[in-house]
């Protein structure tokens, strides 16, 4: 249930950005959620819809982009399929996770500035 605290961080950040640019309204947010970021996208959306009331994001649509997790060998580049052992069978190297797959990023804020 940390989705609510993440929404608070998100809205706080958007408020700061809007203040910086003296925005009169925020129209749209784009947030990317990695598959292994530890966040349930549906729950996050629900939390956002609940918590944005009374904030600068009250009428702001949030677009969630899901970033799939892919593991690969950093040596030979062989992709390691979902559920497989995370060590390259050929090189013995620990697998490396694809970029963004364990992150929650605020990508874009679309705001109205005077």
């Amino acid at each position: 249930m940390h989705e609510y605290s993440l929404v608070q961080s998100l809205v706080g950040r958007v408020e700061a950005l809007a203040l910086e640019r003296k925005a009169t309204a925020v129209h749209r947010l784009v947030v990317s959620v990695g598959e292994l970021a530890g966040l349930d996208p549906e729950l996050f959306q629900t939390a956002y819809d609940t918590f944005r009331t009374g904030t600068i994001c009250e009428r702001t649509a949030m677009e969630l982009r899901r970033v799939p997790a892919r593991w690969a060998c950093p040596g030979c580049g062989r992709e390691i399929a979902r559920g497989e052992i995370l060590t390259c069978a050929a090189c013995g190297l620990p697998a490396k996770l694809s970029a963004g797959a364990d992150e929650i990023l605020l990508e874009t804020v679309e705001m109205e500035v005077p």
């Binding site: 940390h2 961080s9 497989e84 060590t87 364990d102 990023l105």
Partner: protein, 302 residues
């Protein structure tokens, strides 16, 4: 301002941010980490399900180290300070962080707890997180390493069910191993699951009750402590500028079954200047018999 016709209407501007939502937490975590490093304190984030045996493990650690180290702890708990009181009894000065409805600790809660606690003279500082296999994994607290307690009674599929928690673990302590004779639990299946969610699986089988595996756990702690910056108190505050730094060094492991794995610990990270050689990339290979999930009992040939 509308620049097309000069009508004075406001215009829509897309601002590219590309920033972690938890950037604020991460900043406080970095601050905590710098304080721990400057004081030479090994800070560990101890996570696991409710009832996995986190508190018992810390009590057993106090017993196993027998006063050689100054231990301290903060314990995250929803409603009580039972854990902190138990730890105090075991000789570990402790503070409870009561989170109310909060399902995890964050860097600010830990930072605030430090203000009311004599942590600077400690050798090992345990941050006992709220019992939960989901939320705590998302928040950096400034710890040197993540230790996840997983009890043998929780079911073999827990690593696969909670991949985010185990992916971030530097060490998994398989707890309550004294119960194995009484359970239909296949330990090999747990280890297999961990190999599928942890790129660098490291596991020690322990029992707080019998003391099994505590020696290997203490050696893991020793190795981690050895990687800390030397000269407690002499280090001043960390430089704020960062520089990219690429490490690539290989550890060759010879397993009991004869297979040899090379583990090049390739890291790319930016960090401040208080970094002693081996402090972050040292995965505790100082101990001789801690078991990687790839097999029990193997020699390290570095």
């Amino acid at each position: 301002m509308c620049t097309t016709c000069g009508c004075g209407d406001s215009s829509l501007v897309p601002v590219d941010v590309h920033e972690k939502i938890l950037a604020g937490n991460d900043r406080v975590a970095t601050h905590n980490r710098q304080h721990f490093a400057a004081a030479g304190v090994l800070a560990l984030n101890v996570m696991g399900s409710p009832g996995a045996g986190k508190t018992a493990l810390l009590e057993a650690t106090a017993k196993a180290t027998g006063g050689r180290w100054r231990l301290g702890a903060v314990s995250g708990d929803l409603a009580t300070d039972n854990d902190a009181r138990r730890l105090e009894k075991a000789g570990i000065p402790s503070r409870a962080i009561t989170t109310g409805q909060g399902c995890h600790l964050d860097a600010q809660l830990v930072h605030d707890a430090l203000h009311a606690f004599a942590w600077k003279d400690l050798d090992v500082f345990f941050i006992e997180n709220v019992g939960n296999l989901v939320c705590p994994a998302v928040y950096d607290l400034g710890q040197a390493a993540n230790v996840v307690a997983l009890s043998v009674t929780e079911g073999e599929d827990k690593p696969l069910k909670y991949p985010v928690m185990f992916k971030g673990a530097d060490l998994v302590l398989l707890t309550k191993c004294d119960l194995l004779p009484h359970l239909d639990v296949d330990v090999e299946q747990i280890l297999d699951g961990l190999r599928r969610v942890m790129p660098r699986p490291e596991v020690i089988q322990v029992s707080a009750r019998t003391g099994q595996g505590m020696d290997a756990w203490v050696r893991w702690l020793e190795a981690r402590r050895a990687g800390l910056p030397r000269g407690r108190g002499t280090a001043v505050h960390v430089h704020t500028h960062e520089h990219p730094h690429v490490h690539a060094h290989a550890h060759e492991h010879r397993h009991a079954d004869g297979t040899v794995h090379s583990h090049p610990h390739g890291h790319e990270h930016a960090h401040g200047h208080l970094h002693a050689p081996g402090s972050e990339e040292d995965h505790g290979h100082g101990g001789a018999d801690h078991a990687h999930a790839t097999g029990s009992g193997h020699e390290h040939g570095h």
